[in-house]
């Protein structure tokens, strides 16, 4: 038996539910030799800003128990270079491209989107709202529902394409921010971004990362991500969700779908195994076949609850 692996995130149809997570698969072509992006549901680009960004001084990464902390500082080539040097080939290969966008002001977000709107080949936008809003005194967009609603509305005005907002697990009110994003016009919510964390070098008596803090990702965070996906699905049952956090196996994907995600993103697993997204897709196919599932969509939100 073969399972229909296609899925939909709102209006966007995907060949399968496996996407790559922003910041872990470059701009979509970097690992094409090891993991052809056109065979995935889609790729999410490294976060793009209007201008190229240099990022943080190293050390930027540190391994932890079943996880890692990163403080890359949103280094990227800028939207112009992406549209010029990368997007045409992604388009030619038929890759479903989600552009991850960030900026320090709503205008900066809009600038990235406006530039992409001039090109073909972008399937959707994902707003990374875990970055500080300079005009609002450094408060992260994703931590304040009002700020987030207005940011989302501003971006909504820029495009007719699907607009996803990526929620921060560090926000004081996860569901409130999710609702705010939907109120602002988001078509889907993606969650979770990394959890604020820290590693200390006990001999040097310093943080390991030059920035002190960073974001925790990897299998360690999966139980938290799964809980958050289910909570947001429970609160906003009609909002499409894209699940992220520590996905390593096809069975992990099935868990996120059951919790209410319509698709998932694979992040840190790519660092362990650059072909992980494809491997995971194969595992998910075999899991579905083994369970007699004819269409992977059957799993979405299928968790039996209360138990």
């Amino acid at each position: 038996m073969t399972t229909d692996m296609s899925t939909r995130v709102g209006a966007l149809s995907l060949a399968n539910p496996i996407l790559t997570a922003s910041g872990t698969f470059g701009y979509g072509l970097d690992l094409a030799d090891l993991c052809p992006p056109e065979r995935l549901g889609g790729i999410v680009t490294k976060g793009l800003s209007p201008q190229p960004r240099r990022g943080n001084t190293p050390p930027r990464i540190v391994e932890t128990a079943a996880g890692m902390i990163n403080a890359i500082g949103l280094q990227n080539i800028g939207v112009e270079a992406f549209c010029r040097d990368v997007l045409p080939e992604l388009d030619a290969r038929g890759v479903t491209v989600v552009v991850n966008v960030f900026g320090e002001s709503p205008a900066a977000y809009r600038e990235v989107m406006a530039r992409c709107e001039r090109e073909r080949g972008v399937a959707a936008y994902e707003l990374n709202v875990s970055c500080p809003n300079v005009s609002a005194g450094g408060m992260e967009f994703g931590h304040d529902p009002a700020l987030l609603a207005s940011l989302t509305a501003a971006c909504r005005a820029e495009t007719a394409k699907p607009l996803w907002v990526k929620l921060s697990p560090n926000a004081p009110d996860l569901i409130g921010t999710g609702k705010a994003a939907v109120d602002g016009g988001a078509d889907a919510l993606t969650l979770i971004n990394t959890l604020r964390a820290m590693a200390i070098d006990a001999v040097q008596r310093r943080p390991v990362l030059q920035r002190g803090f960073g974001g925790l990702s990897g299998p360690a965070i999966k139980p938290i991500a799964l809980r958050m996906v289910w909570e947001v699905h429970w609160a906003l049952p009609s909002t499409p969700l894209v699940g992220i956090g520590g996905i390593e196996t096809g069975r992990d994907v099935a868990e996120f779908l059951l919790a209410g995600a319509s698709a998932v993103q694979v992040g840190t697993a790519v660092f362990r195994d650059p072909a992980a997204p494809l491997r995971i897709l194969g595992e998910l196919e075999r899991f579905c076949a083994g369970e007699g599932i004819t269409a992977v969509g059957e799993l979405i939100g299928g968790l039996q609850w209360p138990c």
Partner: protein, 271 residues
């Protein structure tokens, strides 16, 4: 760049080289084309501990009847290297590589390279020496270690140098073998004595590389340094392993390196 692949390798040999270092040879079924300076990312254990692969320089690649043997030299410093040291022959090890660039080995007739290694920086330098010897390109070898017991593969080094009439200079910090003191001082003495090199190729601890960067810059000698940054992916997508360049840019050393000409690097490598 040579195509990257995740090779299903098996342990052929694990054997001690010194009290702290060991040789790991992996057997792959497929041919592997690699240059000295390139590295591979090894998964140290099945499962999630440790989560990330570890980077190791290639010390050599040779064909056998069964496939290709990829040689590495590891120093046990933590969990990953401890797990690899305990592997039995036949154990499977996922190996992604070869990755990164390599040293610039090409020289014109009459020219000579200086190969400089410190500690566990030897693998790519040994690989380069054996490849240069096979091509008949001239070089001198400067190999340093903390103490005599930590010097290893001296016969292979001597044999490679001998092929091209090169000098093998051994140095130990404690003077227990070879010239006492640092390899860079030994190189400096040769330069002072008028020996000329078209380029120095080096791998070793940061202070050694910085000393070499200073020396090379002062003497107008080209030098390439193989740097060691913490890596998560090894393939250019996590941006964890960045190195600062002359122009202030931060570039992933797994992709644009690990070998960099000193002149491209930020000033701290030269000052």
């Amino acid at each position: 760049m040579i195509a990257r692949r995740d090779l299903a390798a098996r342990v052929a040999i694990v054997e001690d080289l010194t009290p702290t270092c060991f040789r790991l040879e992996l057997l792959c079924c497929e041919p592997v084309a690699a240059s000295p300076g390139q590295f591979a990312m090894l998964r140290c254990a099945p499962g999630l501990d440790p989560l990330l692969r570890r980077a190791f320089s290639l010390a050599g690649v040779r064909s056998t009847g069964d496939g290709t043997i990829v040689e590495m030299h590891l120093k046990e410093v933590g969990r990953g290297t401890a797990l690899l040291r305990r592997l039995a022959p036949g154990a499977p090890v996922a190996m992604l590589g070869p990755l990164g660039n390599g040293f610039t080995l090409g020289i014109a007739p009459g020219q000579r390279l200086a190969l400089v290694a410190g500690g566990i920086g030897l693998p790519p330098v040994l690989f380069a020496a054996e490849m240069l010897a096979a091509h008949g390109s001239a070089f001198d070898l400067f190999v340093g270690a903390s103490t005599a017991g930590e010097l290893y593969e001296v016969d292979r080094l001597a044999a490679a140098a001998a092929v091209v009439g090169g000098e093998l200079v051994l140095c130990t910090d404690d003077g227990s073998r070879g010239e006492p003191g640092f390899v860079t001082a030994a190189l400096q003495r040769r330069l002072d004595a008028g020996r000329a090199y078209v380029r120095a190729l080096a791998c070793g601890p940061d202070p050694m590389l910085q000393a070499l960067g200073r020396l090379a810059t002062a003497r107008g000698l080209e030098a390439e340094l193989s740097l060691e940054e913490p890596m998560a992916c090894g393939v250019g997508v996590c941006l964890g392993c960045v190195v600062e360049l002359e122009d202030g840019r931060l570039v992933p050393s797994c992709k644009e390196g690990p070998v960099f000409p000193v002149s491209r690097l930020a000033a701290r490598w030269r000052a």
